[in-house]
């Protein structure tokens, strides 16, 4: 069941960073550094977004020799819509659409 709760500012930051170039696959560590989040905050957000169909995940297909493949992330269509709605919503308020999505 989807909880009717406004995304946290950290989630909004992650959504915004991913929505900047929706087609690009992103790495977790770099994404965390970009939005200023440590792994302890970033990964739960990524897991939640993935659980709710907002985030697409994949494994690097051709990693350099001697290095394990990395996990890649980008927004799905629903995630992109949510990122847009979050960006448009005034601080402290949230639209009904966004509330029901999160």
């Amino acid at each position: 069941m989807i909880r009717a709760r406004r995304p946290s500012p950290q989630t909004v930051a992650v959504l915004s960073a991913l929505a900047a170039d929706p087609s690009e696959w992103r790495y977790g560590y770099e994404l965390g550094r970009q939005v200023g989040l440590k792994a302890g905050s970033l990964y739960p957000i990524l897991m939640r977004l993935s659980d709710r169909g907002m985030l697409e995940t994949a494994w690097e297909s051709d990693p350099p020799a001697g290095r394990p493949p990395r996990h890649l992330y980008r927004l799905t269509g629903a995630g992109l819509e949510m990122a847009r709605a979050a960006a448009e919503a005034p601080a402290g308020r949230v639209s009904g659409e966004l509330r029901s999505a999160w």
């Binding site: 792994a39 990964y43 897991m47 394990p68 990395r70």
Partner: protein
């Protein structure tokens, strides 16, 4: 970039984070591991790994594990602080608390004992089973507080072993992968409660007094009818609902095990509820009134030892019916369990008490081995609903 072994402090810390993650999140653990390989600098690696531990700890499953651990520690602390003076009894009760806590933990995880099946019958039976186990623990603590007039560890283990065995079988029978249908468990348990109460009325009360049924109009007619009627009704209802002979057998075993437990519980409950009205079985020169009462209670309990043994045997046989037998060694163990149960009946009929107890013990051990050698992980739906489909929670 310098390659760092994943066995440095950060790597080990991340290993802890991955271990803490629930099975469904293992892919995220692998993602964290591969990201750590990209992080330069000991401090940054440690900070990243610490963050991953934090991410794992905020997962609901980790929170539940911590809660369970805290609850177990609190229960053990409460037992230790309860004033059980006799060291042997304290060790036994703490051990029982830890075993029950471990079983409850396993009952919440995918595997042989969990998670609980979706049917209301499975949930009600499991809740009732937990309630009985907790009540037993509370009564044991209450009984063993303060000075003891007998060495309590002499007569505690039998009922404790029975409780652990019943809890084990109850968890396996009500787990998602159980082959026991909800109807068989529900009707079997209900019939067991009725048959147990009726059977209790038919046997000599506390060993030396006439059966309670003697005070009823028609004497033993009504309890006997209730006993037979409850079993017959359960068999008929299960046959009608499932159309499966194996499920009828499960219901009968369930009724027998529950009925025997009811008999032994009622026998001891009488001493707890009405101690001053219980008979004094031992001679007046056996000691002080407290010593005589403790001895009488122990002596009266002998009347119900047979119920404990038969109940445990039926629970052991029931254990063999809980999971589908797909391995050869499981089939062999199940056959040996049945043979042990048959041998127990023959020995009991012939009056060979020692032989009956030993073969019952062997059958119980074989029954539990049958259960533990069956497949551990099953799908989200009960095995009887899967029609040969592969389990979908193989995580």
């Amino acid at each position: 970039m310098n390659r760092r072994p994943s066995r440095d402090a950060a790597g080990r810390l991340l290993g802890l984070a991955v271990w803490l993650l629930p099975a469904a999140r293992r892919e995220w653990g692998a993602a964290m591991r591969s990201e750590l390989e990209q992080v330069d600098g000991g401090g940054a690696r440690l900070r990243f790994a610490l963050g991953c531990v934090r991410a794992a700890l905020v997962q609901p499953s980790a929170q539940r594990a911590l809660g369970h651990l805290g609850g177990t520690a609190a229960a053990v602390a409460a037992v230790l602080a309860a004033g059980i003076v006799y060291p042997g009894a304290r060790v036994l009760v703490v051990a029982l608390t830890l075993v029950l806590a471990a079983l409850a933990w396993l009952g919440g995880r995918p595997g042989l004992f969990g998670p609980v099946a979706g049917s209301p019958a499975a949930r009600v039976i499991r809740t009732a089973g937990y309630a009985v186990a907790v009540t037993y623990l509370l009564v044991a603590v209450r009984d063993l507080r303060g000075p003891q007039y007998l060495r309590p560890e002499l007569h505690i283990p039998l009922s404790m072993i029975m409780l652990v065995l019943y809890t084990t079988v109850m968890l396996a029978a009500t787990a998602r992968g159980s082959a026991a249908r909800p109807a068989a468990l529900a009707y079997g348990t209900a019939a067991g409660v009725v048959a147990g109460a009726a059977g209790f009325a038919l046997i000599p009360f506390e060993r030396v007094m006439p059966p309670l049924a003697d005070a009823l109009p028609g004497r033993d007619l009504w309890p006997a009818l209730a006993l037979v009627g409850a079993l017959a009704a359960a068999m008929f209802a299960v046959a009608r609902r499932t159309g499966d002979t194996a499920q009828v057998f499960v219901a009968v075993l369930c009724a027998g095990a529950v009925g025997c437990a009811v008999v032994s519980v009622l026998g001891d409950a009488a001493w707890l509820l009405f101690p001053e009205r219980m008979p004094s079985i031992v001679p007046l020169n056996a000691g002080s009134p407290q010593v005589r009462q403790a001895l009488s209670r122990m002596e009266a309990g002998d009347e119900y030892v047979a119920a404990i043994v038969w109940g445990s045997l039926l629970a052991g046989v029931l254990a063999t019916m809980i999971r589908p037998v797909v391995r050869r060694r499981t089939a062999v163990l199940r056959t040996l369990t049945f043979a042990g149960a048959a041998l127990t009946s023959l020995a009991a009929t012939a009056g060979e008490q020692t032989g009956a107890v030993l073969s019952a013990l062997a059958a119980i051990v074989l029954g539990i081995l049958t259960l533990t050698t069956a497949p551990r992980r099953e799908g989200t739906r009960p095995s009887w609903q899967r029609s040969g489909l592969r389990g979908d929670v193989e995580t």
